[in-house]
Subunit: 571 residues, 2 copies
Amino acid sequence: MTILSSLGRASRSAPLASKLLLLGTLSGGSLVAYSDSNKKEDQQQQKKKKKVVVLGTGWAGISFLKDLDISSYDVQVVSPQNYFAFTPLLPSVTCGTVEARSIVESVRNITKKKNGEIELWEADCVKIDPTNNKVHCQPVFKDDPEASQEFSLEYDYLIIAVGAQVNTFGTPGVLENCHFLKEVEDAQRIRRGVIDCFEKALLPGLTEEQRRTKLHFVIVGGGPTGVEFAAELHDFIEEDITKIYPSVKELVKITLIQSGDHILNSFDERISSFAEQKFLRDGIDVLMGMRVMSVSDKDISVKIKSSAEVVSLPHGLILWSTGVGTRPVISDLMEQVGQGGRRVLATNEWLQVKGCENVYAVGDCASIAQRKIMGDIANIFKAADVDNSGTLTEDELQDVVEDINVRYPQVELYLKSKHVRSIKDLLTDSEGNPKKEVDIKAFESALSGVDSQMKSLPATAQVAAQQGSYLAKCFNKMEHCKEHPEGPKRFRTGGHHQFRPFQYKHFGQFAPLGGDQAAAELPGDWVSAGRSTQWLWYSVYASKQVSWRTRALVVSDWTRRYIFGRDSSRI
Amino acid sequence: MTILSSLGRASRSAPLASKLLLLGTLSGGSLVAYSDSNKKEDQQQQKKKKKVVVLGTGWAGISFLKDLDISSYDVQVVSPQNYFAFTPLLPSVTCGTVEARSIVESVRNITKKKNGEIELWEADCVKIDPTNNKVHCQPVFKDDPEASQEFSLEYDYLIIAVGAQVNTFGTPGVLENCHFLKEVEDAQRIRRGVIDCFEKALLPGLTEEQRRTKLHFVIVGGGPTGVEFAAELHDFIEEDITKIYPSVKELVKITLIQSGDHILNSFDERISSFAEQKFLRDGIDVLMGMRVMSVSDKDISVKIKSSAEVVSLPHGLILWSTGVGTRPVISDLMEQVGQGGRRVLATNEWLQVKGCENVYAVGDCASIAQRKIMGDIANIFKAADVDNSGTLTEDELQDVVEDINVRYPQVELYLKSKHVRSIKDLLTDSEGNPKKEVDIKAFESALSGVDSQMKSLPATAQVAAQQGSYLAKCFNKMEHCKEHPEGPKRFRTGGHHQFRPFQYKHFGQFAPLGGDQAAAELPGDWVSAGRSTQWLWYSVYASKQVSWRTRALVVSDWTRRYIFGRDSSRI
């Protein structure tokens, strides 16, 4: 069967001539006949299968591929990388706490255990054509004329999971003179860059001032990435570098520039101030309320917001880690589907791109444009008022409460903020007793505040992974749910939605702060910081690894660091 | 003392102004005074110390630094790399059996345990000026104007250990289109290159022929490096790649091109033929008696020596691993010291470069030009003939035998080839009985064959490491041996040589052949091949690691490969 199945595969991708050649090498005629009939069956099978094209192998793309039942779809993946990277550990790679190879896993390896085969092409998607259901791709091998021919793929369903790119906010000189931390290669480049700074600072013939400049590390952006890099760098210098570069120890300086008033401002206040105090003790300079005006190869020019004064800081290395920007292929698609001018693709609650039904977008490149409950309020009332009485009884309301909760996730957040348990608790008279019946006015005014709770989800790995996984599950039950829809009521058109909308579940977030201390914000408003949190971090990050291989490697890297320290060879 | 010693260091490298600034920051006057007197002592110490400049941190350079008593010299090291690489494991890095980081160790880490401090500069030596005892160096940071200023260093002793570079034998297109395997970066590039070949072969739109070309791996050179790479590549493909690229499995081909009649021709014949048979079974094409005429990005053009026919082979990737060439800085030095036209620097038996007494050369960049015993035969006879009788008695001969053996290492090899134990056994009459006395003619004719045993040492890690270590030991006893020379008699000028000449001790050599089999040639004409030899290889290579860190990492890499296989992510 191996020869036959490999023939089958070859015949799908190779032109007729070589197919004949291959068949010609088989000696037995009956074997050829068998192969032919087998092929026909295969082709019929193929015809039935819908073509799914996935763009990208980051958190969203991989979660989708991992959870998708590949046997029922013909899956093609286009990604400039043939691996998945565990990006939350990228800051650890910059200083060698963890090796780059330990946080990546081959995509083919992840998907090979599945009952089916995916096709993966190392290419960039350069154009999405939703009108013709096609994507145009450019292989990454630019220096090989044969292997860099543009090709196009047709799809029945397209999953866009290309992620975001760096956002320079148009600041001049950033692209040329700053490091970024989005890809594994970036982390490797930073690692070499940091060691280079130390080697440069030791060279003969430099002035003390020049040495200080080479050893001034600047981080722009006080989000989790910037803060974790500052912490890693501080540890690397304190624990390892000073032992082998003792003569320049005193010249090192780390500066963190933040435009807001606090670092880690997506976290709880207690965590922000814990981090700021820790950095103060560690000697990391945190400059808040600053805006970067421009960057050159020598200096970074910063405006102090309060005084409008502009100061210039000489630097040895800059990490730019502020926000996310849009990839050109996404901007182009947004123009085509009438979403021009937006920062990310807008999808509905089922992650379908608005304007094209068979295109889905997940992860950092997309954002869910939630439907306002106020826009549908009349329809909801009408659908609920089964007896057309103009008022809703308690029973009539009870029948739609669940559907409303599922269809409009902001309702749950609103109820939480009001400290009540159900919509029914909002419909009370002036004395606080539940009303027996409500008319449309009372219904509308009770729910009028709900839409204020609409929040767009952060651009994190957690969101992307949950979206990919959600979408795969929808795809797995696509046929079944066509007949047996499981979603909430369609208040406007009647019937039910095919699936329940995507709902994000926040499991908390970590901020490692160096010196074996971390801060964590966990569900239920639970905040913790310190050494024990670092151990929690270790266990969560080890358990979240995508394969046993990376899990073993990451844990052995951590152990290696404890025993031998971090390596500072310039490779 | 830490502040003071760091001040001391700073004052050596920084100009006067910053020195005053630094001293100004110390508050107590007495402390300053103490520091001053301390500094004077330091300076006197410095004056006494001779300046040793070491070029290169490969096998020879690192062995020298490891064994040198740094407290008695002022050591400065110039190397384009701040690490030492365990080069015999480079072929394992090309396919991910071992990670690059596992075979490198920071030079500063290796030397920091010593009682003293070395200065290391990441720079290339661009010119050696033996007339003025200076070397001119260019930092490796070409894109940083401040940190790429050329600087020069003065030396009392210079140790040249820069190694060799690739030798293309002037074959057109080799530099542009081939991979090499001398540095860690080369191995990393090959690893990416191999994975790229597979990714390219899968792209849509390629013909079967093009796919075959992409997956044709060519190795030029049947020495240990080429053979080991072929074996590694074969294992990688068989054990890992075929699992995740099943559709192109049948298209892969490995070809090894060797100009001689056998591969591994520096090994015992039994090993050569074992390797050839193993490769035959593995499906690795070994083309012998071939000469590469030219290389393009698509083809390699090869001349079959026996028929003078030229054939052209399309390729996906080529590794060029044939012989070693001369670095430009060495060619330039050879011109200066009257050694122009040679391939490597000639040294005497004490590793001193011929023509400059305080310059030493070790490792692949040098070769010992052994002194012929026949050139000194009259002087030896004269020195031995104490009573000036014109003949040597048994006792007179006995007195010089040891000195001759030590001074002319070829004697030992010659005696071995003649199956006799001593020079005296060569001086027999026609009946085979030892002569009582010999005249100069008989003495000359008995030793006339000795010089035929002069052999230049191979360009291996083993030779380089022994030379570096030997030289360090000479340096450690430099002062002592000036008064108490320990070398053999000077037959021409009288007295004794300061040191015994360098003598190479061969500990055998390995050739890993893939599939967990290896071949080994061990001292005493002992040859072994197979699985047990592979385990011997594992233990020898683990024990030879330069630090406990690399030892632990290499062993854990081997284990990881057994459990999880090799990773094929393209990073």
